[in-house]
């Protein structure tokens, strides 16, 4: 008996917006300050204080929603989501419930390696809300001590809820990667998962295809506590297997049991059930009477649309066409961010070969960035100098191997291409010198000559190797051509 199933994944992403101040007060949003030093009566929820909306946060939220091709509501309001917890000092979170400021968008994902089909992941809604504070539980001294840091309380948070459109951990990761890239292109969030500025929860279940041809949805499980994209991928893969096992054992369908919440344990590589919060079922949402609704005009939405700039998907397409590079290459470049793409474009334009520029950047530049953990803005070789080097390569003044040596040296010395080539003694042999060297080689290697004549063209490679030993500056392609010419000329003569 074979039973197939499909994994159904929806993701709920929270991102902190890059505003200078909090959503409803003037406190700083800077990460890492000593606990409770970035608070005021408003974000501490003292009696009688009132929230005032941060326009900038709303603008950044609007920008994101427009980039996600969402419908923008002309009228949106604030609601109170009520629950008791010490890191929620007002006893409610200001959020958006039934009238989010945007809905019905999408994000396109694809895999340059072709492991899944290009698809659009639907976005159910994007709404703006305030973050809660942070609870720290210290159980070191035998008694549970809890400490509350309210620096984070009131930081603007965007909640982006996807449709359950993803079918594999790989697709989920692609969605997150693309979303993160979009957010950083827009400059709305730094998406730092370690600092909690990007958080991911997943809703997962299976569509099981029974042998008698029925489709059975299994109960939905919410997974929390995934602290990296890698953890999301692993948790989803684990959950698929676990849920299938539960299905086989219990036959439970969607609706048979209440939605379960599980937490990912990154060390044990498993999900565990989280304690059910009894009050979580009823948040008693109602419109916040302290805030006025926000009205957004068509003209404002249009202005935001105009201000978006080039987004990753468009940029990939443009690079492919303009520089004649593969989707894989454009993907790698665009995923590195706008600064690297700008660097690439300068190099490609100045050296006149997009593919060559792309190869060098991917193989050499990116490796150095990674090794040194620096950004392209700190890379010691300017686009102009790299382009100069690639022009030399294209002109045959230096071969790829030696070109790499030149680049490596330029990284450390900061000198120009010509200076560096001179230092390395790289000087182009003229045609006569090269011919003399090739004649010498042909004369010295009758066995190889015979091999070439017998049709073993790879023997020509051995000539190139020997030529380089005699003089590292030879142009290998030219050596090969000349040697073949000489051998053929001999046989004709």
């Amino acid at each position: 008996m074979t039973t197939r199933y499909e994994l159904i994944i929806g993701l709920e992403v929270h991102v902190q917006l890059l505003t200078r101040t909090k959503l409803f007060c003037g406190c700083s949003t800077r990460f890492g300050a000593p606990p409770n030093t970035q608070t005021c009566p408003v974000c501490v929820g003292m009696p009688g204080v009132l929230p005032v909306m941060n326009r900038r946060a709303f603008e950044l939220a609007l920008k994101t929603a427009v980039a996600l091709r969402c419908q923008i509501a002309p009228f949106t309001k604030w609601d109170r989501k009520q629950y008791y917890y010490p890191d929620l000092p007002k006893g409610y979170q200001i959020s958006q419930y039934d009238l989010p400021f945007s809905s019905d968008g999408c994000l396109e994902i694809s895999d340059p390696k072709g492991r899944f089909e290009r698809k659009r992941v639907g976005i159910i809604r994007v709404h703006l809300e305030e973050d809660a504070g942070k609870s720290m539980h210290d159980e070191a001294h035998g008694r549970a001590d809890s400490r509350i840091d309210l620096n984070r309380a009131g930081v603007p948070l965007l909640e982006i809820v996807s449709q359950p459109d993803m079918r594999s951990p790989l697709e989920a990761k692609a969605y997150l990667t693309e979303l993160k890239l979009l957010l950083s292109y827009l400059g709305v969030s730094d998406c730092n998962m370690q600092e909690g500025s990007l958080r991911v929860d997943a809703n997962v279940n299976l569509h099981v295809y029974t042998p008698d041809g029925h489709l059975v949805p299994t109960p939905i499980v919410e997974i929390k506590n995934m602290n990296s994209f890698r953890a999301v991928e692993r948790a989803l893969a684990y959950e698929a297997e676990r849920q299938f096992k539960v299905w086989q054992e219990t036959g439970q369908r969607l609706g048979d049991v209440p939605k379960q919440t599980r937490g990912w344990d990154d060390v044990a590589n498993i999900t565990r059930p989280q304690r059910h919060k009894e009050e979580s079922s009823d948040y008693r949402y109602f419109p916040d009477p302290d805030l006025v609704p926000v009205i957004v005009s068509e003209a404002e939405v249009e202005a935001v649309r105009q201000s978006l700039g080039e987004l990753p998907a468009e940029m990939r397409n443009r690079l492919e066409v303009a520089y004649n590079i593969s989707p894989y290459d454009s993907d790698v470049l665009v995923n590195q961010g706008q600064a690297l793409v700008a660097y690439f474009e300068q190099v490609a334009q100045q050296c006149g070969d997009g593919k060559l520029a792309s190869n060098w950047i991917q193989q050499d530049v990116l490796r150095t960035l990674k090794e040194r953990t620096i950004g392209i803005d700190e890379y010691p070789v300017s686009a102009q100098r790299l382009a100069e080097l690639l022009r030399a390569v294209r002109a045959g003044r230096v071969d790829t191997m030696r070109g790499r040596e030149v680049l490596a040296r330029m990284l450390d010395t900061g000198r120009t291409v010509d200076e560096t080539m001179a230092e390395l003694g790289i000087a182009q042999l003229d045609e006569a010198q090269l011919m003399a060297l090739c004649k010498e080689l042909v004369a010295e290697n009758p066995k190889l000559v015979a091999d070439v004549r017998a049709g073993k063209l790879q023997a020509a490679g051995a000539f190139v190797g020997q030529a380089k030993r005699k003089n590292p500056n030879v142009n290998p392609a030219r050596v090969r051509e000349l040697v073949l010419e000489l051998i053929q000329g001999q046989s004709e003569g």
């Binding site: 003292m46 009696p47 009688g48 005032v52 000092p89 009823d282 109602f286 009477p289």
Partner: protein, 510 residues
């Protein structure tokens, strides 16, 4: 005539003319407080030293010919629900008995900037929930006209202190009638401004969409003076309206021409005491004699006002009061006692061998004990009502339905104001009742708000002032006008007070 009988406008004229110093005036009021507040209990705290220091400072500046604010040296009492930096702000609750906010309410800042002398903090129903000031956690306040009776509420202290000449001006708050009803029961003038006219920043919230800060004083002129100082846009309150503040104190004396007043048919139903109805109808005749036309209007939905109000106000209150959890500030239960209680329960569960009923976590128990001990019964009742009304499955039937009623009541007003400039009617069905008379009957207590809640639900302005007496107790008249019609309401009241003397009568205090 003693200084305390002058009233704010006349006293200010004396101060400005240099015939009286602010210190003298403040001393006169402090003496009055010393003499009578022991019985009346209007003040929770009197800031003797602070008031005299401020009065001296104002006098000094005035003598030196320097600029002095609009209220230059006049004493003002403030309801103990408006925050003042570093000072106790209790809201009449055990929960905030020791709470000192690190910020000023905008109204308090405006009073200070106007050189008011903040003489003390007045008593109120806990978190402004009530109509008799009997819900204060600290003390009872008595009606100066009859010490066996309540002064009304929730701004009972605010009204009583003016009625007893212990302050010429007083700040109250009105969520369902809490300025107008005590003003009526104490025989003074009190205004609930249009929602958004006065900043709510620093007013400890009861029901945010209904709360409004307003003035209480002896008459229309004094009320206008205080309104002029506290009204205005505040960027810290998103619901405050950005609209210029008219010179109310000057405009109040301009007679209204062609004034039309509506009498609401539905006001004169069963439950309204005949003496009150007679006084209101007599007041309408006075307006007619002043050239006003009076006609009957209908507000068919007003009868649902109290029901809608007691859904909306508690719903918002249940949310606004969630922050009092003993974690960040305010009252916290005795933690040792709490942990001991939990341990005892745990032992009991274990010996009974049952795991079905789990005791609270320490956090939940902290919340429960703190809130059980910190809040009084009326506050708890409203938190429960509101929590219930907002719960899943009941929200549509209660909260949403109440919002619909709210819109219909506003429509009634809009239709009435298309026909008349303002509507006149009673403030309460009867004069002040006795202390303790309704404490065990919450529904009877809620019906006290019958004529006042509609203005809060609609966001319009409402003014109460005396229009007669019944068995020695004041009866109030209410004028309600469209949003931002405060100047017209005050001018109508001034016209009335020019030809009547109800507002000049004083209780005889021994």
């Amino acid at each position: 005539m003693s200084l305390v009988e002058l009233g704010a406008t006349a006293l200010l004229a004396e101060l400005e003319a240099g015939r009286v110093s602010s210190v003298e005036a403040v001393r006169a009021y402090l003496e009055r407080i010393d003499r009578y507040d022991g019985e009346i209990g209007a003040f929770l705290r009197v800031d003797r030293d602070g008031a005299l220091a401020k009065a001296e400072e104002v006098d000094r500046r005035r003598r030196a010919g320097q600029a002095v604010g609009r209220l230059g040296g006049l004493p003002v009492a403030v309801k103990d629900i408006l925050c003042a930096r570093g000072e106790l702000t209790t809201c009449g609750s055990r929960m905030l008995a020791n709470f000192r906010p690190p910020y000023d309410a905008t109204v308090v800042s405006r009073l200070q900037a106007a050189d008011a002398v903040l003489i003390g903090r007045t008593n109120l129903d806990e978190f402004a929930m009530g109509g008799s000031t009997e819900n204060s956690a600290f003390q009872k306040t008595r009606n100066p006209w009859d010490l066996e009776r309540i002064p009304g509420g929730s701004s009972g202290g605010a009204a009583a202190c003016v009625a007893a000449d212990m302050a010429p001006l007083s700040i109250g708050t009105d969520t369902g009638g809490s300025i107008r009803q005590p003003a009526a029961l104490c025989g003074i003038t009190g205004l609930k401004p249009t929602y958004g006219r006065v900043s709510r920043f620093g007013l400890v919230a009861f029901a945010s969409s209904l709360d409004q800060v307003g003035p209480l004083a002896r008459d229309a002129q004094d009320t206008a003076l205080l309104l002029e100082v506290i009204a205005g846009h505040d960027p810290r309150d998103s619901t405050s309206v950005d609209r210029p503040v008219p010179p109310y104190h000057q405009l109040v004396r301009q007679p209204l021409k062609g004034l039309s007043i509506g009498l609401v048919r539905e006001h004169y139903a069963a439950g309204l005491e005949p003496e009150v109805e007679a006084a209101v109808r007599e007041a309408a005749r006075v307006f007619q004699s002043l050239g006003a036309t009076v006609k009957e209007v209908s507000m068919p939905h007003s009868k649902y006002g109290v029901a809608a109000y007691y859904i909306i106000a508690p719903s918002e209150a249940s949310s606004n009061l969630a922050r009092y959890d003993g974690v960040h500030y305010g009252y916290r239960t005795d933690e040792q006692a709490m942990l001991a209680e939990l341990a005892a329960e745990q032992a009991l569960y274990q010996s009974a061998g049952t795991s079905a009923a789990e005791p609270d976590s320490p956090l939940v128990r902290l919340y429960r004990r703190t809130r059980s001990e910190g809040f009084g019964p009326e506050v708890k009742r409203r938190i429960m009502l509101g929590t219930y009304a907002l719960s899943a499955g009941y929200y549509d039937a209660y909260y949403l339905k109440a919002l619909k009623v709210r819109r219909l009541i506003r429509q009634d007003f809009d239709q009435a104001f298309a026909q008349v400039d303002m509507v006149a009617g009673p403030v309460t069905t009867a004069p002040a009742f006795k202390l303790g008379e309704k404490v065990n009957d919450p529904l009877a207590m809620y019906l006290v708000d019958l004529y006042t809640v509609s203005a809060n639900l609609s966001g319009i302005a409402g003014l109460a002032f005396p229009c007669g007496f019944s068995r020695g107790l004041p009866i109030g008249l209410q004028l309600q006008g469209p949003p931002f019609a405060e100047e017209r309401l005050l001018a109508a009241c001034y016209m009335y007070q020019q030809v009547t003397d109800w507002h000049l009568r004083r209780p005889s205090l021994s």
